[in-house]
Subunit: 155 residues, 2 copies
């Protein structure tokens, strides 16, 4: 395991990796496109996924819906090559800067999972707050790629 | 409240905001600098914080350490002005693109909370995995700004 969390000063100002996994053994992960800083996805890692990501230089996550380690791109081919991994001040979240070439990172087919923008300002009707699609076209057809039809999105 | 989550198709492909808050009533939030895409921080919002952020166009979070809504910059003056808010495919995480001017977003004093980089490749000694500081100087002195001395970082 990584270095134990002994002191707040060490965690914040020290040089050793001491990640904090939550009560489920997970740490949140932010993944951005190294080319332009666009946010591609938000996911989670367990200890093994973090270690595999560091060592293989390809993003691994913990799939909460499938309850197993998930080598991103294993099915779709859209592997995320790691350009840099950073950790935050209290070491309870991870930032991956990745290269996905001309691929995509969203199981719905878009390049980024964050393809909709929320309008700003006073909300008139919360139940009908209309968002704007910022990606006009999908990068791939998920029906062709994910043949088993399972969907990680849950109600 | 926002639109109820009726169908996966609506959540993923629809235009209405239907955020999913977790068992603690929180949704994770990723905050990037609109100027260059740098990740500034990773936090959480409850329903009220999300609504206030949309309506006031300034970032509000839920502070898990203080257990209350937190208008970022209220103490430090480093308010995050919202340029855009996006939500992801299954609507369980939020992306804020913000303007912090020449300010900072990290309580330790750095511009970004993610000021340390993890070395890639085979790990020799997990307990002494040395990171590299990517920000060489702090943007502000936290001792001068946060006079009460409380620290959100926990072991």
């Amino acid at each position: 395991m990584f270095k134990k969390r002994h002191s707040i000063k060490e965690i914040e100002e020290g040089k050793f990796l001491s990640p904090k996994f939550d009560e489920n053994g997970l740490i949140p992960v932010v993944t951005t496109d190294f080319k332009n800083g666009d946010l591609l996805m938000h996911g989670y890692m367990d200890y093994e996924a973090l270690k595999k990501t560091i060592e293989t230089k390809e993003a691994h996550y913990w799939s909460r819906s499938r309850k197993k380690i998930w080598h991103k791109g294993q099915v779709s081919g859209f592997v995320q090559k790691i350009k840099e991994i950073r950790i935050d001040d209290d070491q309870d979240s991870v930032w991956l800067s990745v290269d996905i070439g001309n691929g995509a990172s969203c199981h719905v087919g878009y390049r980024s999972c964050f393809y909709r923008s929320i309008p700003l300002g006073k909300i008139k009707n919360e139940e009908e707050l209309e968002m704007e699609f910022k990606e006009k076209e999908k990068t791939f057809d998920p029906k062709k790629i994910y043949k088993d039809g399972s969907n990680p999105t849950k109600l």
